[in-house]
């Protein structure tokens, strides 16, 4: 019972959060952005955290999701959210295409290869007329039906993102406790040892990569629904990939709530200080942002959640 206490309390707090900050739309928006960041980072966490395959190219999937959503609007007139399943399906296929050659690489080489693939896709997207080239594409400017998900406040998005994040974390939790979770952790610790014990490492890494890609695509689709616009940099830019890695690593990679903790810290830091200091201080904001990341990496190399786990080790149940 104890095990469900903290997640349950978190969920309850998350459910009432918009009521607590009702008078301030800024905080509703902030809440939605935190959840969106957590969805992306949790998606990355499946392959990057649990399986230890540090992809720095997940923007490929994020961008595929965002572009799928906008393309079904511009070319077919459908509501953007209808593109989400398409983006997820395409991302699973794409993950297989990228994963088969790159997952053979180990350590830094895999990361570098994913960076290169990400940049390749970004450059290609900026030359594609179908995708709007370097200018990008916009979703519906005026909502036609409720399915266009154009809302005056960020609150509906907040709840949509909360549902998606809860489902994603539930799925991750099921994986974590099941056979696949043990396989992935074994691969992370030592791929050779895992193989020698009969784990099909290649196949399970690919499964994790495909699943991770599908949810990163969903994050992209949701991003497009909220912001209504995507261009090569906001869809496929390397910063999108790096942010997923940094959020997960900051909170604690390979842990269920690690990405959420990372998002809870990084997103408000970015958003609030930007709005407080305005355009002028923007540079200085990110100097502080960078310094905080450096300090956490220096003193808590396994992420913030390692603070809690350190205590847990000492306790004898």
């Amino acid at each position: 019972m104890n095990r469900f206490l903290i997640p349950g309390a978190l969920l309850a707090l998350a459910l009432v959060y918009p009521l607590l900050v009702q008078s301030l739309p800024v905080y509703e928006r902030l809440g939605a952005l935190v959840l969106l960041g957590a969805i992306g980072a949790s998606a990355w966490n499946i392959v990057g955290g649990y399986a230890g395959q540090v992809s720095v190219g997940h923007a490929v999937f994020f961008g595929f999701g965002a572009y799928s959503s906008v393309v079904v609007y511009t070319h077919l007139g459908w509501p953007p959210i209808a593109g989400a399943p398409l983006g997820m399906a395409l991302s699973v296929l794409l993950a297989a295409v990228i994963g088969v050659p790159t997952l053979r690489l180990s350590g830094h080489y895999f990361s570098m290869a994913t960076i290169a693939v990400g940049e390749l896709v970004r450059v290609l997207s900026s030359t594609s007329e179908f995708l709007g080239g370097a200018q990008g594409l916009g979703g519906p400017a005026i909502p036609r039906t409720v399915f266009d998900l154009s809302f005056l406040s960020a609150m509906p998005f907040y709840y949509i993102f909360l549902v998606v994040l809860s489902l994603l974390l539930l799925l991750t939790w099921i994986i974590e406790r099941g056979r696949m979770g043990f396989y992935l952790r074994a691969i992370k610790d030592s791929e050779r040892a895992a193989r020698s014990l009969g784990v099909s490492a290649g196949r399970y890494k690919l499964y994790a990569y495909m699943l991770s890609g599908a949810f990163a695509a969903l994050a992209g689709s949701l991003y497009l629904c909220m912001f209504g616009f995507v261009d090569p940099d906001s869809g496929f830019g390397i910063l999108i990939s790096v942010k997923m890695v940094v959020m997960a690593a900051l909170g604690g990679a390979g842990q269920l709530f690690g990405p959420l903790v990372g998002a809870l810290i990084l997103v408000p830091l970015e958003e609030l200080s930007n709005s407080l200091l305005g355009g002028q201080g923007a540079g200085l904001t990110f100097v502080v942002y960078g310094a905080i990341i450096v300090i956490i990496a220096r003193f808590l190399p396994s992420g913030l959640l390692s603070l809690l786990n350190r205590r847990k080790v000492n306790r004898v149940d």
């Binding site: 390749l120 030359t127 990110f286 190399p301």
Partner: protein, 287 residues
């Protein structure tokens, strides 16, 4: 072969030598302590700003800027080693990405805050404009950058493979404990590696600034190029970075000329993925 094609290949080689130089620092660190420095591009960016500062504040050309940039960025490298890298290199790979990326953001936005977002360029005439040699047109700044890039990369390779200090550094990279038992101080060697890498990177930046715009975010583009060059050449191999840099330079200029400037990066990335497919350890990497 038409003269234009020769011209394209020669300018590709000159550019490639610069790629080699700014990648050699990254490969040195990567090979010696298995750390990928995500702030590498921002080290280059600060090298470029050093050249801009030397010109605007002192009116000095590249021959003044090169030593200044080398010293400044070498200091930055050694400081980064002692204050950050030393502590995170034993940790998980993610901690290295987190730490060096945080450093990258810190440096990038410190530059943004201090120098402003505007692009800065150095005057063309600083390095003797352009000249014609054997029917080929050369820009002085690019010839200087290419020649110095080639020279310093080879010098770095020579230091690492043919001198006592290079052997000591190699010993630390192979087995730090064993090296320590032989009377080598690992931390000193690793700090030295960061200093050397920083100097090479700073020089590369100071040379690039003569023909490339300088802005706080230029490091991002350059870092990706350096990552590709280093993985292409094989980690830890300065010679590999040189060969990979030259190949990438030539492939870039040829594809920009034959297919179109937009596709030059596409071709380079495809080539890179192919190399990783057939030779995952890179051209000259150890297995």
């Amino acid at each position: 072969m038409s003269l234009i094609l020769v011209q394209v290949i020669v300018s590709g080689l000159l550019l490639g030598a610069v790629y080699a130089l700014f990648s050699s620092g990254l490969t040195l660190i990567w090979g010696m302590m298995n750390v990928v420095n995500f702030a590498h591009g921002d080290f280059v960016m600060l090298g470029m700003y050093s050249a801009v500062m030397v010109w605007t504040a002192l009116g000095g050309g590249p021959f003044a800027a090169v030593p200044v940039a080398a010293m400044l960025i070498a200091t930055l490298g050694v400081l980064s080693y002692f204050m950050l890298v030393r502590h995170i290199m034993k940790g998980p790979m993610l901690a290295q990405i987190l730490g060096t990326f945080g450093l990258a953001l810190f440096l990038r936005y410190a530059a943004f805050w201090y120098f402003g977002a505007n692009f800065k360029t150095l005057p063309d005439t600083l390095v003797g404009g352009s000249f014609v040699f054997m029917g080929l047109r050369f820009e002085g700044s690019r010839v200087l950058a290419g020649a110095m890039g080639l020279g310093i990369t080879l010098l770095l390779h020579f230091i690492l493979t043919r001198t006592a200090i290079g052997s000591r550094m190699l010993a630390v990279s192979e087995d730090a404990t064993a090296a320590q038992l032989m009377g080598i101080r690992p931390q000193r060697m690793q700090a030295l590696a960061w200093g050397m890498a920083g100097a090479a990177t700073g020089i590369a930046g100071a040379l690039i600034a003569n023909f490339f715009y300088t802005s706080p975010t230029v490091g991002e583009t350059l870092a990706i190029l350096a990552f590709v060059t280093v993985s292409f050449g094989g980690f830890g191999s300065v010679l590999g970075a040189l060969v990979a840099g030259l190949i990438i330079g030539v492939v870039e200029s040829l594809s920009a000329y034959l297919i179109g400037p937009v596709y030059k990066d596409v071709i380079v990335y495809i080539l890179f993925v192919l190399v990783l497919w057939f030779r995952p350890q890179g051209l000259m990497g150890k297995t």
